[in-house]
Amino acid sequence: MIETKHIDFYYGAFHALKDVSIRIEPHTVTAFIGPSGCGKSTFLRLFNRMNDLIDGVRLTGECIVDGVNIYNKSVQVDDLRKKVGMVFQKPNPFPKSIFENVAYGLRVNDVQNKAFITQRVEESLKSAALWEEVKDKLKKSAFELSGGQQQRLCIARALAVSPSILLMDEPASALDPISTSKIEELIHVLKQEYTIVIVTHNMQQAARVSDRTGFFMLGELVEYSDTKKMFLNPEKVETQNYITGRFG
């Protein structure tokens, strides 16, 4: 489970997130929507401490993953990222073979058992609905795959180290409708084993794939509710204006 309590986040003097409290249940898909610069990606990146890499940032409040405040000094970021995998907007395979891309996370975690690695690569590619398309060319470069296949390869790479949470930052925005549909179908299947949090500009995508939706604006979590409710009868006028396209 993920829970944040009164999160405030600053890029230098810029107040990017304002008192954001949220609770995300296991095995659900949660979507964050909102206009550009609203803080949704910043919020997503808190969950595996990706924002730590940026100079001049400051955080107050608590971000709790599976009962542990992940911003405690005792938490090892490498261990956290094994538990909380991430997929980015643009597919970013490594310049390696398909097999090695998926095996990468295991190798950097010092797994040496070849049979285990082979098994995990196959399982992960199957989970990412890519196995049938690549099983006969595992030694080929990942760059030979299409954009949609590369994105599913990145999902397989994230799954290989057995995370419990998968973060997705605009995972289909660079893909064509068919590849997007495959990623969305995959999300429906993966939520049975993983907790998924997705940031998307595509409101229809949020509606299609998520159980809960959070609407961000100007760093505030304006509304967080069941996706059905949000898209049929939102509580706040700001949410209504945004999802109906009246905003701005």
């Binding site: 179908e185 429906h188 229809q204 509606a207 299609r208 059905k228 898209f231 049929l232």
Partner: protein
């Protein structure tokens, strides 16, 4: 099957279940009427709540489907049709309940059997059952070949209805003490005629869904 297809199938399944329930309600109200079976009539009345519950559920599920999946083309036509079909089925369910209440009221047993036969209520019931059943087949198989045949059955219903007005008017002119009973019988026949109209509306929705053609108001 994709997630959105599964959701759409679930909507169709819910409407199919409602259809079965309404067909059963109509058949039971017919049996209750023919056999003057009060117990069966009460069963029809008590099961009407289930028909209403189906309509509410399908309404809500269709709203959610449109809000979440923004359907287009045949999917949009299907969801719009499902909403209208479920409303129409609910109304047919109301009429079946009305027929059952007519039986329960039990104050119209004095019209002579020969006249009741001439009013052809049983023929109307039989035609309506086949209309509802054939329209379900057309819906489920997405085949509109049957549509013309079903619509022509409504013409037969209308013909019986118009004839029944003449039969009853003539009968009541000579039996003025039975006017109240005659009016109630006319209301019952009117319910059957309206069910025929609703069955026709369902067929029009199926044609809209499958063939994207609008048959409304062309007769």
């Amino acid at each position: 099957m994709k997630h959105t297809e599964k959701e759409l199938q679930a909507l169709k399944d819910a409407v199919s279940q409602m259809w079965m329930l309404v067909m059963s309600q109509l058949e039971k109200s017919e049996q209750a009427f023919i056999n003057n079976d009060m117990e069966l009539a009460r069963e029809v009345v008590s099961r009407e709540k289930r028909v209403d519950a189906f309509e509410l559920k399908i309404d809500s599920d269709c709203e959610n489907y449109i809000a979440l999946y923004a359907p287009v083309a045949i999917d949009l036509r299907l969801v719009l049709s499902l909403i209208k079909i479920s409303i129409t089925l609910e109304r047919i369910g109301d009429f079946a309940e009305g027929i059952a209440r007519h039986v329960i009221d039990a104050d119209c047993a004095t019209i002579e059997p020969e006249i009741m036969k001439e009013l052809r209520c049983e023929d109307m019931f039989a035609i309506l059952r086949s209309m509802l059943s054939d329209s379900f087949t057309a819906f489920y198989s997405e085949d509109t070949v049957l549509s013309g045949r079903i619509l022509s059955k409504d013409d037969e219903i209308d013909h019986i209805y118009r004839r029944s007005i003449d039969v009853l008017a003539e009968y009541l002119a000579d039996h003025t003490s039975l006017i109240r009973c005659g009016l109630k019988t006319m209301l019952l026949i009117r319910k059957l005629e309206r069910i025929g109209d609703h069955c026709s509306n369902i067929v029009e929705e199926i044609v809209f869904y499958v063939d994207a053609k609008v048959l409304k108001h062309q007769g």
